[in-house]
Symmetry: C2
Subunit: 476 residues, 2 copies
């Protein structure tokens, strides 16, 4: 796919590009370019980019892609670079194309219940803006406070609310996209329903910058989500907790949040912040229900959770209708990523976050495998949290980054976890994406025919292969 | 696209195909083939097919497509042929490939809340099957009692519940598809969430048989939908009724049904069945709310509808919590299609059903245009019903099918209605699809870049162009 790309070391006069862009949009200072050359993923190649384009208009994006097509220069589209798979990392000789400065809300339409935004707006900023209209955009990835909507769309971001409210894809009505050759098109539906032609918007969602650069997004919104009640279940071990997840969901439950934290994660959180989480448990389930606005329905649902949790061997189930308790618990859950990062920094420095998703009915088996994998590798530590209601688990592997053997074992365990996910009918990535990190694993998940379809579509949309090469599709 | 296809009149020995299929699957009797050569659309070309394959296995579908690829014979995939755009109509020399006999439920998974079915199962039969598990598959096109799930997926069918519960696309988790060359692949996610690679399932949904033949479907389900309360609003004219739709939805309402019927439609319904619908009104809105299981919330929502309807000039608003009333009203709404067909049969024989969808905020303007279009063409009659909450309207044009001038005017008005939809920021088809009927109009809706993407994807997936040629993509 990348055979015809320009040699990364070849000189290219960037003056014509600078002239075609908004003033100041082209940045070539090596320090600035380097500072924009990686996302939050570990163990992913970081190349040396040629330059950074800070686009402020659709025309900037078009000019960059026209220039890149002309010279066959790879382009790495970037939002706020908070991804966890290296999809936004620089490749050698590439142009980094950041849309993070294109961050305006262009319209909120309260009759149609949609909003139209530029890609750079941060998810939480949009949520705050919409609250004034009593409207909600549900998807809430862990990075909600720092990740952009464009990046959320490019990776089909998930989050905590997905178990009830779905993922980014479920809220994208239409997209304006600049193709590899610089042409612009709007795909998707202008209306609540529409079946005129192929669903092209869906193709760009989750394509990780490999098919086009998203420059405009119209999102479906819903009325403000009612405040939830919260319950917490403590379990002696991870397998019994995961069993409670299956059994609770099988009752037809519709929790607005159903999170899993293992015992070690609880300890790491308490060491990180003043969360006062219970310690000594093997695992905790955090459950919220909003009863779609009915307090009685929410209470009924959490009572049902209590019954199921007890039947599955919970040591304790607590229940609160104090919003402050709920907020603290959710804040603790949201602090897992920085808490684990801090923990890693004082425990060998190495952390690999996995993102396996399995059918809920296979969660017990998945956790049993996880216990085995950890037992086989005493050199590493695994802590797991995740969006249990969706079967989407984030085992984090901690290891000694200075020790090649510890690092090798961590990477081996990382693969064993994905292999377990695949064997149990799951996927290597529930929401973090493929990027550089899992490109070889994507080749294991997809069947040969599906791989060919991927490559055929890539050729149709990006015949020169300039868009984000070496990432998602590189091993197909 | 079809330049390389076999001459429709060329002889092909079908014995090797018959030998490769399940016994009896190949049907060449001209009467039977002819009886399977059209769907419910009017004014769509119906060709003479070469044969009919009644597939009962995935292998039958594969064998048919391998044979067709080898001989470059066009293939028309068919479900129960209840579509309204001619997408399932025979083309000359084609093989009709029916999957309507592949109609088994393969699995209902109550933990994962999914079911896996063959494509031929009828929507309502699946709904009944799922009711035993207290689970629901919401999409309910007008054809719910006769259309297959495979056809629903191939056309991304909508229905009455979409205003709250979304369309077919929103419930498809994964698809097993046979490609033009006979190879089979499964696309989509095995799990509640998943971002491994492109969203290929979405590409096949709504592709009307032009990219592959769907042979297996895994659907996301939801818990049983609570019973609704029903309200009816009567309005002096269509414009005031459509205004009430906009204003009600802008309050953040989440009705489970919000249907529009104009005065003439009410008369036609009463003439067709014993519905006892109010006559003399310019339009009626039929609204249901289930309050997500809370009777109080449902009552509040319908009270809000009453306020809004009165403010918009309703002459009367009625409200019922008797399930029998609700059922009768919905049954009346569902009888619109046969009632109009019967009306047409005694009023010139001609009926063209349009399917424009506009942003809800433009509904007033759309109806004002509709009034103008009808006034300009006294030779025809237009009756309109539709899924008002989604802005999806079905104006039906009645005309004298025996009079070429009346027919010409009807087709002109049919186009004017779509043009009005496009001008108001809408689409030519909200749920019925493009097929043969609107292929020229699709070329007007899509921008040039989007057209090229369509054709590029078609080439990537069906390089010989054997899948359903002459339909959706023929005018791009």
């Amino acid at each position: 796919m990348t055979a015809e790309l320009l040699d990364p070391t070849a000189h290219v006069d960037l003056d014509p590009l600078a002239a075609a862009l908004s003033p100041g949009a082209l940045v070539t200072e090596p320090d600035v370019v380097a500072a924009h050359s990686k996302d939050w993923a570990l163990f992913c190649e970081v190349g040396t980019a040629r330059a950074l384009v800070r686009a402020t208009t659709v025309e900037d994006v078009q000019a960059t892609l026209r220039f890149a097509s002309e010279h066959r220069i790879p382009v790495v589209p970037q939002g706020t670079r908070t991804g966890l798979s290296g999809a936004a990392n620089a490749t050698d000789g590439a142009l980094l194309l950041s849309v993070s400065k294109m961050d305006r809300v262009l319209e909120v339409n309260t009759v149609e219940m949609t909003c139209t935004v530029e890609p750079g707006i941060v998810n939480q900023d949009l949520k705050r803006h919409l609250a004034d209209f009593d409207l909600a955009y549900p998807p809430d990835p862990g990075s909600v406070a720092i990740s952009s909507i464009g990046g959320n769309v490019a990776t089909n971001a998930g989050g905590l609310c997905c178990v009830k409210y779905g993922v980014t894809r479920d809220y994208v009505r239409s997209l304006t996209v600049v193709l590899a050759d610089g042409r612009v098109t709007t795909v998707g539906r202008p209306t609540a329903k529409g079946v005129a032609g192929f669903e092209l918007a869906g193709l760009f969602i989750g394509s990780e910058g490999s098919l086009g650069v998203i420059v405009g997004i119209t999102l479906d919104l819903i009325p403000r989500i009612p405040d939830p009640l919260t319950a917490v279940g403590l379990f002696p071990d991870v397998v019994s907790a995961s069993g409670a997840v299956c059994d609770f969901m099988a009752t037809g439950a519709r929790p607005s949040l159903l999170e899993f934290l293992d015992g070690r994660t609880l300890e790491i959180l308490n060491a990180y912040g003043d969360f006062g989480l219970p310690e000594g448990a093997g695992a905790m389930l955090l459950v919220q229900s909003n009863g779609d606005g009915s307090q009685e329905a929410a209470v009924r649902e959490l009572e049902r959770f209590t019954e199921v949790a007890n039947a599955c061997g919970a040591s304790e189930v607590m229940f609160s209708d104090d919003p402050a308790d709920s907020e603290l618990l959710v804040a603790a859950r949201r602090a897992v990523a920085p808490a684990m990062e801090k923990y890693a920094s004082t425990h060998g420095g190495g952390e690999l976050v996995d993102d396996v998703c399995v059918p809920r009915g296979r969660l017990r088996e998945f956790f049993a495998r996880l216990v085995d994998i950890e037992a086989e590798h005493p050199e590493i530590t695994i802590c797991t949290c995740g969006h249990a209601g969706d079967g989407n688990m984030h085992p984090s592997i901690f290891f000694d980054a200075g020790d090649p053997e510890s690092t090798r074992i961590a990477q081996e365990a990382f693969g064993e976890i994905m292999a377990a996910g695949l064997e149990l009918g799951g996927t290597i990535t529930g929401e973090h994406g493929v990027g550089y990190l899992k490109r070889d694993w994507l080749a294991r998940e997809l069947d040969p025919v599906s791989k060919e379809i991927h490559l055929g579509i890539k050729r149709a949309l990006d015949p020169l292969g300039i868009l984000n090469p070496g990432k998602m599709l590189a091993s197909l």
